[in-house]
């Protein structure tokens, strides 16, 4: 069995245990069943932050070293980050509809900055698909990947900078506002989703290597045609 399959199996078991804790943890008196949304909403958006942070690190490392493996790391992490941020926003919308009475509010700082973050990283993926030359693509994507990460702290601290609909952080340096059972279940789910991220990253990077080999082996029509060189032209 390959290493990625072992990590994926461990991650799946951890996610299953996290789901068990989520559905057996005590409920909040006001939110009822919707208390359980925290166990998927927080881990998915935590993963999005982690993934975009890794994209930035990969981008900076690529700009310094110019090694393709850093570009693969950045691209793979951005793709997974977009997936988890979209899923995280979906869970937040369901939760918001239940407890706020509305799924979305553009006036809310956390929601608006999260939407902008997703659009920028969708743009990052679109940029990668729009450039055929691997070196040009890697360089331009790395510049964007290194800059775009500024949105992660912006989204995280938006609830402190502008107090609107979304609540502030429940886990702070001075402690947690949650009961221990809920906190433990939340941390188990965060750990489980982090393992899942590692497994998905390994699989995604392996796919990237295979696809690069495949594209490299493909003969493109016109590849053998050399452009004329002016230095070869003799005066007559």
């Amino acid at each position: 069995m390959r290493r990625v399959q072992i990590i994926f199996l461990v991650a799946t078991a951890a996610v299953a245990y996290g789901a068990y804790l989520a559905f057996t943890a005590p409920l909040d008196a006001l939110q009822g069943e919707f208390t359980r949304m925290i166990y998927i909403h927080v881990p998915t958006l935590w993963l999005a932050f982690l993934a975009f942070g890794v994209t930035a690190l990969g981008s900076i490392a690529y700009l310094i070293t110019r090694k393709p493996r850093w570009d693969r790391l950045a691209a793979s992490s951005a793709e997974i980050g977009v997936l988890f941020s979209v899923v995280g926003v979906f869970t937040g919308m369901v939760w918001g509809q239940a407890v706020w009475g509305q799924a979305w509010d553009w006036g809310d700082a956390r929601l608006a900055t999260t939407a902008v973050m997703i659009f920028v990283y969708l743009g990052y993926l679109a940029l990668r698909h729009s450039i055929a030359d691997p070196e040009v693509r890697a360089k331009r994507a790395a510049i964007l990947g290194a800059i775009a990460v500024i949105q992660v702290p912006l989204v995280y601290f938006s609830v402190n900078l502008v107090r609107t609909l979304h609540q502030t952080q429940s886990i702070r340096p001075d402690g947690s506002t949650m009961p221990t059972e809920i906190l433990v279940a939340l941390l188990v789910n965060v750990g489980a989703f982090t393992l899942l991220y590692i497994a998905l990253m390994m699989a995604r990077m392996h796919v990237a290597v295979l696809e690069e080999i495949r594209i490299g082996a493909t003969v493109v029509a016109g590849d053998a045609v050399a452009p004329p060189r002016l230095s070869d032209v003799k005066d007559v």
Binding site: F34, V87, T91, A199, R204
Partner: protein, 34 residues
Amino acid sequence: MSDAMIVAGTYAVVYGATFGYAVYLHWRRKRAEQ
């Protein structure tokens, strides 16, 4: 629809998207290996 069903449905969407992506990667790997 009860609250429990909405929560369970949301969990199904999250797990479906995550493990669906893993299946998609597996398909891409098989295609690249051909």
